[in-house]
């Protein structure tokens, strides 16, 4: 069993419209990979397919997480198997407090009949909230309800750090963040970096990658990875924009 997330020849569509087109990418644990690309190229679709969203039809290929094909699993199974998706647009859940929400998610990871240690849980929750500069009063607030954009994203990172995943897919986590919030979020992510965790940071802008420095940068276009390189590739994209990709794609075609 290899400790990596392998996306092989992935094709996916929604309502008959093909979005992912023979996409290949390997993310080993311990590395941070960025996916950059223009809007509408399928970046968020990839994130949702990985998390098991049922609206997307997988037309071919496989996604192996530590050797296990996750495309056949339900979203909750994928999550418990170690994959975390930080949503671009986190949902507001009326009447469910953050504390109860994260608690239910942790409880779901325990064996039947086993109860979460509440004292330990709150201790850890508060520590991580302090780290992410989230007011402790938020624990009793409904998940994301009435939160600002920055609060929602910090709440995603809070969940991510509480659930301890092997692979973190971060879908445009930088969107809607001011520079202070971006620093807080990036700091939270950087503290989670380690040999046993892989990150796939999806973004449209290079800015986030100044704070979360990737090991590898992939460029996505029209549902495929068209270029892979080091962190310098992100800077190149920032300078040149995405227009040249189209030209290159036209030449290849």
């Amino acid at each position: 069993m290899s400790n990596q997330l392998e996306i092989k020849h992935l094709n996916a569509s929604i309502e008959g419209k093909a979005i992912l087109n023979n996409l290949n990418l390997t993310l080993p644990q311990g590395e941070v990979h960025a996916i950059m690309g223009p809007n509408g190229t399928g970046k968020s679709t990839l994130a949702k397919v990985l998390a098991g969203h049922e609206d997307y039809e997988v037309d071919g290929g496989e996604v192996l997480m530590n050797g296990e094909n996750i495309l056949e699993m339900e979203p909750d199974e994928i999550s418990r198997a170690g994959l975390f998706l930080a949503f671009q647009y986190p949902m507001e859940i009326a009447g469910v407090s953050i504390a109860n929400f994260i608690r239910a998610a942790l409880q779901a990871r325990l064996d039947e009949g086993e109860e979460l240690n509440a004292t330990q849980y709150y201790k850890e929750l508060y520590e991580k909230m302090d780290l992410l500069k989230i007011d402790r009063k938020f624990t009793s607030r409904s998940v994301n309800e009435g939160f600002s954009g920055g609060e929602k994203k910090r709440c995603e990172i809070l969940q991510m750090s509480m659930l301890n995943p092997n692979y973190c897919i971060m879908d445009e986590t930088d969107s809607g963040l001011d520079i202070d919030a971006l620093r807080v979020v990036a700091n939270g992510v950087n503290l989670m970096r380690g040999a046993d965790r892989g990150f796939l940071v999806i973004t449209h802008y290079q800015r986030l990658l100044e704070y979360i420095v990737p090991d590898v940068v992939h460029v996505m276009f029209n549902g495929s990875i068209v270029k892979t390189g080091g962190p310098e590739l992100a800077k190149e994209l920032e300078e040149r924009g995405y227009g040249w990709l189209e030209a290159e794609a036209a030449v290849t075609a």
Binding site: D76, A94, A104
Partner: protein
């Protein structure tokens, strides 16, 4: 599922008890309350005559639209006539619903079986929390103007008449001018013997500048026995009073339940009703609020958990007779299996009730395709300077919300439950008594756990 009937095979134990519609039932009810004043006998006689004369409502009546009323609903039912000592002990020991109360009465099949005296501090200040018999003996002057005077206006004239004629027990809460209660007083009503009728009665008289808190709880001894319940609650909120009344209806699912509540809100009063509807096979709940004084603020909140073949038929009326007042109604229902809900609400604003703010919202959460939610919101506005709105929504669980929860590793079933409990939190938060709120959460969770088991 076969339609449960109210025919009971074990009723032979008390052959002498007359059926509900029989003259003897009325005579027994009259005899059950000793030393009744003439005015009361007259009122009850009048009610009995009305009950005998009025036809059973039918779905053709506008006020019974969508309802399914069993034509035999009154047949082969006898008025509850108390329980034996052993049952009384057993039920009394199961009645500690809210530990932190200021006094409690427990009734079983219309008989008082247990009581915890009112907090002496409140008694000292003149608060009275007594059963009807005591109220009639000691507080005739207080109750004469209001007892059994409320009229049904939402369709249940016949059932209200039945209640008035046959009621023999219940509670009277009197809070004199300026006195504030914080802890609630509690009345627990048990239905025990099969095929008997119970008549819970609540009478609250809150004088000016008071703070009042009462909880009614309806429970069945036996989870299967056929039951019939016909309750009334009359709440009088005096000027600048703060009145909270909560009712938890958790009869078993073979019970026909009729609830008729009337609230009268005087000048600057704040009156809050919270109804939790869990049990009964068919539950007809008529809830009417009359705002008679300017500046009053009335809240009507309700949560309902429907399953199997349950039918919850909810009719509400908010009447604004005075200006500058507010009323806010929120009824939330969740529906499973083949259950049905009917919400029919009306806001009436009289021509002198200017600057009224009145709202009415019914939200239905359909958890199964086979369930059916009906909504009939209505407005009748005669004043020209008012803010009124009504709205009804019927929706299923949001797929994207479900995905979000599942993407955190929460199994689908648990995720759905979290969303449904979240849906009800908006109501439970209004309960503003931590212990009771927790209890209501337990009851709601229990119903879902039982359902999924």
């Amino acid at each position: 599922m076969a339609q449960p009937t109210l025919i009971d095979n074990d009723a032979s134990e008390s052959p002498a008890r007359p059926e509900l519609q029989h003259q003897d039932a009325f005579e027994q009810a009259i005899a059950a309350l000793p030393d009744q004043p003439d005015w009361l006998i007259e009122r009850r006689q009048k009610a009995w005559d009305a009950f005998q004369t009025l036809p059973l409502p039918s779905r053709k009546d506008e006020q019974w639209r969508f309802a399914t009323l069993n034509r035999n609903v009154l047949n082969q039912i006898v008025p509850g006539n108390g329980v034996d000592a052993e049952t009384a002990d057993r039920l009394a020991s199961r009645s500690s619903f809210i530990a932190d109360h200021a006094g409690q009465y427990v009734f079983a099949d219309n008989q008082l079986i247990d009581s915890t005296p009112l907090d002496p501090e409140l008694a000292e200040k003149g608060v009275r929390f007594v059963n009807l018999e005591t109220a009639l003996r000691d507080h005739t002057d207080l109750i004469e103007p209001i007892f059994l005077q409320a009229q049904a206006e939402l369709g249940s004239e016949k059932f209200v008449a039945l209640h008035k004629a046959l009621v023999t027990n219940g509670t009277f809460l009197f809070v004199p001018r300026g006195v504030e209660m914080s802890k609630p007083v509690v009345a627990v009503y048990w239905s025990s013997a099969a095929s008997t009728a119970v008549f819970p009665h609540t009478l609250i008289l809150a004088e000016d500048n008071t703070s009042v808190n009462l909880v009614d709880i309806f429970l069945s001894d036996n989870p299967e026995a056929a039951g019939f319940a016909c309750s009334m609650a009359n709440i009088h909120g005096g000027a600048n009073s703060r009145v909270m009344r909560k009712v938890v209806q958790d009869w078993n699912e073979n019970t026909f339940s009729f609830q008729n509540d009337l609230t009268i809100a005087e000048r600057d009063s704040v009156v809050k009703n919270v109804a939790v509807n869990i049990g009964a096979l068919k539950s007809r709940y008529e809830n009417m609020c009359r705002i008679v004084g300017p500046g009053a603020d009335v809240k009507m909140y309700s949560l309902t958990v429907g399953e199997k073949h349950q039918e919850f038929d909810q009719r509400t009326l908010q009447v604004h007779e005075a200006p500058h007042a507010t009323s806010d109604l929120l009824y939330k229902n969740s529906l499973m299996d083949e259950c049905r809900t009917i919400f029919s609400g009306l806001i009436v604003v009289d021509d002198e009730a200017q600057q009224t703010d009145a709202y009415q919202t019914n939200r239905n959460l359909l958890l199964d395709h086979t369930a059916e939610a009906n909504s009939l919101p209505g407005l009748e506005i005669k004043a020209n300077d008012v803010k009124c709105s009504h709205g009804a929504t019927t929706a299923r669980l949001e797929e994207e919300e479900l995905f979000y929860l599942m993407a955190r590793g929460i199994p689908e079933r648990t995720a759905k439950r979290l969303l449904v409990f979240g849906f009800f939190e908006e109501i439970i938060e209004k309960v503003s008594n931590q212990e009771l709120a927790e209890k209501i959460r337990d009851i709601v969770h229990h119903k879902f756990t039982r359902h999924q088991a």
